[in-house]
């Protein structure tokens, strides 16, 4: 046992402020911060490196990881390959001037105070290796040029901190060169994936999705059952019987949602919202059990895996012969759909340019991609007066809107959700300007980091957002946080149970459905969650 410190020394005993050179600061891998490694059998099932060539079972907290002999060569080869394939990677490795503008923009830095969570330093972890292994000046000048060799300790550090970035891109907004730390983290993760150094939470979802079609691993009958369950709820609380179609050929539209909405509370209520909305307008659409996932956890492993997972959507659209695709509320799903999907699989000539069959609106911004976001679609419906709405049903709610990172900074979806909320709710309040829109704070659990074993990381990473939420809660009595991301809907209830236990979480379509006056509906005394509308107090 350590010697008993004097009372005023207590504060110095457990937190070691980094001294001297950050390159020499050994990494202290702490439980509660890191995620458990992917299981070998799950990696193998996905035909990814399953670490069978490692010398021992990978235990993250061990000093010796038992890396294979040629670990360094393989990582560097992969890195070289990535540098030649991505201009982003190469340019971002070269041009940072360390101006420090990004340093205090990361929610993980703000919540933890750990300097390695400053985006610039997170990137420098990899950049120093780039300089030391790939540039002439770095090889000659070494430390003077800010270069270092890739060693086992450096690898530990990189692994630890690359899985403390939620790829939210907030820092990139402030970078004078547009350097995107998310991109660097994506590259780093793909490089480490070469050795099978992935985390369980991501990999379980990936492998399940590859074969069952969705992250949760719901088999077709279960997937359908989950939705049937919501249909029963709708029947009970709304008095409407809905009978959606499954894997139906010849439907006009294929509807794809993040599978998180199919299962966990409160996402399921957003799902109920989709069902009611699409039934109400009489859309000719179908669900698919094969393309039953809009999200793409493969995006958090490697480009190829992401593409393998995402490929099912267009394939299914082609098989069913639909005209275009409608996508549900999800964050990274839309970053992938928007910025990667057509490039991976295009050109998409077997589908038609999306046109809303209800309003006749052409979605010209989705001309090549053939996929429309549910918020764009709903906003158009409301604008054209196609929905009969009674916002007073949401009067118990004092709503604020969380701009989910990816649709914001990876797509530019800012106004549609706000327009919808304002149409279906009477009480809407914005959080402070420097915490919303392009400056929005991450929920703290993005990019596959919403495992449970890293709860401390998630909670402190979520603190900046929760702090802004507390502000509007105190000032305006906000009791509901609306968002358009399935990860948000999974992560926020947890974060709020810790930070703001009296603010609930919902998807926007749930709000729409509650306000929606459907033909033939029964008395709407209860909302979709089964609470009495008149007395409901939302809880996370």
């Amino acid at each position: 046992m350590a010697k008993l410190p004097k009372y005023y020394e207590l504060l110095n005993i457990d937190y070691r402020p980094p001294k001297g050179n950050w390159m020499d600061t050994p990494v202290d891998i702490r439980p509660g911060i890191y995620c458990y490694p992917a299981r070998p059998e799950v990696l193998k099932k996905a035909s990814m490196n399953d670490r069978s060539d490692w010398k021992k079972y990978w235990v993250v907290e061990d000093e010796d990881w038992g890396l294979p002999d040629d670990w360094k060569e393989r990582l560097l080869n992969k890195m070289r390959d990535m540098l030649s394939k991505y201009r982003t990677f190469k340019v971002y490795m070269d041009i940072c001037v360390r101006c420090g503008a990004c340093a205090d923009k990361c929610h993980y830095f703000l919540g933890s105070g750990d300097p390695f969570n400053m985006p610039v330093l997170r990137a420098e972890l990899l950049r120093s290796v780039y300089r030391g292994e790939f540039t002439t000046t770095g090889k000659i000048l070494g430390r003077i040029a800010g270069a270092r060799k890739l060693t086992k300790d450096v690898l530990r550090q990189i692994w630890y901190y690359m899985f403390q970035c939620s790829q939210c891109r907030r820092c990139s907004v402030f970078c004078p060169y547009g350097i995107d730390t998310a991109e660097i983290t994506i590259m780093a993760r793909e490089i480490m994936n070469e050795l099978g150094m992935n985390i369980a939470w991501i990999q379980e979802s990936v492998t399940k999705c590859l074969f069952t079609g969705n992250h949760l691993g719901l088999q077709p009958q279960t997937y359908k059952e989950c939705i049937d369950c919501m249909l029963a709820d709708i029947e009970e609380y709304v008095g409407i019987t809905i009978d959606p179609s499954w894997n139906r050929k010849g439907a006009e539209i294929l509807f794809v949602v993040p599978s998180g909405d199919v299962f966990a509370d409160p996402g399921i209520f957003t799902l109920a919202g989709y069902l009611m909305l699409l039934e109400h307008i009489g859309l000719d659409y179908t669900w698919s059990t094969y393309a039953s996932e809009g999200g793409d956890f493969g995006f958090f492993t490697a480009n190829e895996v992401a593409k393998r997972m995402n490929g099912k959507i267009y394939r299914e659209a082609k098989r069913l012969g639909v005209k275009w695709i409608l996508g549900g509320e999800c964050g990274h799903m839309w970053r992938v759909l928007n910025q990667y999907m057509t490039t991976w699989h295009g050109p998409i000539d077997f589908l038609e340019e999306p046109v809303s069959p209800i309003t006749g609106t052409k979605f010209e911004n989705a001309k090549a991609h053939k996929m429309v976001h549910i918020s764009e679609f709903t906003a158009d419906l409301i604008k054209h007066g196609k929905l009969k709405l009674d916002p007073s049903r949401n009067d118990r709610l004092r709503v604020t809107y969380h701009d989910s990172c990816n649709p914001s900074r990876g797509m530019g979806l800012y106004e549609e959700p706000r327009y919808i909320i304002k149409s279906v709710c009477n009480h809407f309040f914005e959080m402070p300007r420097n915490t919303i829109r392009e400056q929005t704070f991450c929920c703290g659990s993005g990019s596959g980091l919403n495992a449970s074993e890293n709860m401390e990381l998630r909670l402190r990473g979520g603190f900046p957002r929760q702090n802004a939420l507390r502000y509007v809660r105190d000032k305006y009595g906000v009791n509901m946080l609306a968002c358009i991301c399935a990860i948000d809907r999974a992560a926020f209830p947890t974060a709020q149970q810790y930070w703001n236990p009296d603010v609930g979480v919902c998807g926007i379509t749930e709000l729409v459905a509650n306000a929606l006056i459907m033909e033939g509906e029964g008395p709407r005394t209860h909302n979709l969650r089964g609470f009495e509308i008149a007395t409901w107090e939302p809880r996370p």
Binding site: Y86, V91, I144, P220, I348, G412
Partner: protein
């Protein structure tokens, strides 16, 4: 890197350049090396290196179109698009890059005055934007002003700039505003790196070196103009000779001039191999220089390749009986 070591390396390197030039230029016969050979070599290395780096970047593919969208996308006609922060056309991209390059827009973004406790608070980051802008523009104007040493006759805009820069009309010869501003801005950038703990923590010798180097360039320039005068006619003879590719080495130029030239040459040589290349890189940054039109126009990845996608047939084979039992249609009974 420890701050003392970093500083030591940066200061030492600059001092070495100064000393080499100081002694070298006084050795009979070596002046042409410092006055003619070095500037030519530096110029060639700078141009060649710069082009090489940019071509290297330019040749690396842009597999995906991933701009950071900081404003409303182009969508339904009644929703106003933010054409600057989320451009959907080349013109928009040019606009975005223009504000980025000429006004450091991203750096400015978080620098608005904030109200806190009823007082207006300027976050410290406001100064980094001002300092950076001041430095870059002063440097640019000084570079343009120097054209008058290389051109006969002196172009009108150089003369005009000269007049404008000396508008204060303090002292003889007239004090240039940019000379002072450059040094002030550099001093700020330098002190910021030293005084702000987080900056000190992330700074490398490569961050201090250019600051010290450019500071010394400015300082020797000012010394030469106001204090240790050099014969301007001889200098112009040399510089015009250099520019017209008929170099001559006039006699009687003070040693301070050679120190100045050696420092400038060092900067030119150092430039392409360092972070200073952000000057070229900013134009090639895919986070900024692409339009957000992925859904409108397909972006082509030059190294795209087919991957193994778990097919619907395999999927149905796995689950056919369960699907049938659940009433989900199947392809093959």
């Amino acid at each position: 890197m420890d701050v003392k070591v970093s500083l030591g390396i940066a200061l030492g390197a600059v001092l070495a350049i100064i000393l080499i030039a100081f002694f070298g230029a006084q050795v009979p016969g070596l002046q042409p090396i410092f006055g003619i050979f070095l500037p030519y070599a530096a110029f060639v290395i700078f141009i060649g290196g710069f082009i090489y780096r940019v071509v290297q970047w330019g040749r690396s593919p842009v597999p995906f179109r991933i701009p950071t969208t900081c404003g409303q996308q182009k969508t339904l006609p009644w929703i106003k698009q933010n054409k600057l922060e989320c451009p959907s056309s080349t013109l928009g991209v040019i606009g975005r890059m223009f504000f980025e390059v000429f006004f450091f827009r991203s750096l400015f973004k978080h620098t608005k005055a904030e109200m806190a406790d009823g007082n207006i608070i300027y976050s410290p980051s406001k100064w980094i934007w001002a300092g950076a802008l001041l430095f870059h523009y002063s440097f640019l104007i000084i570079v343009i002003r120097h054209l008058r040493l290389f051109m006969v006759p002196i172009p009108g805009f150089v003369k005009g700039l000269d007049t404008l820069d000396g508008i204060l009309q303090v002292g003889v010869p007239g004090l240039y505003l940019t000379d002072v501003l450059l040094l002030v801005a550099l001093a700020y950038l330098f002190i910021r790196r030293l005084a702000v703990p987080k900056m000190r923590y992330i700074s490398l010798p490569a961050d201090y070196f250019p600051l010290v180097l450019i500071f010394c360039i400015g300082a020797t320039g000012i010394l030469m103009r106001y204090f240790i005068r050099v014969d301007i006619v001889s200098v112009k003879q040399l510089t015009v000779g250099l520019a017209s590719l008929h170099p001559v080495m006039p006699k009687g130029i003070g040693v301070i001039f050679f120190i100045h030239v050696a420092l400038v040459s060092s900067l030119f040589i150092y430039f392409p191999f360092s972070k200073l290349m952000h000057a070229g890189g900013v134009f090639l940054s895919p986070g900024r220089n692409l339009a957000n039109t992925n859904r409108e126009k397909m972006h082509v990845n030059p190294w795209n390749y087919p991957v193994d996608i778990h097919s619907y047939e395999d999927y149905e084979n796995d689950f056919r009986e369960k699907m049938k039992a659940a009433g989900i249609p199947v392809e093959r009974e």
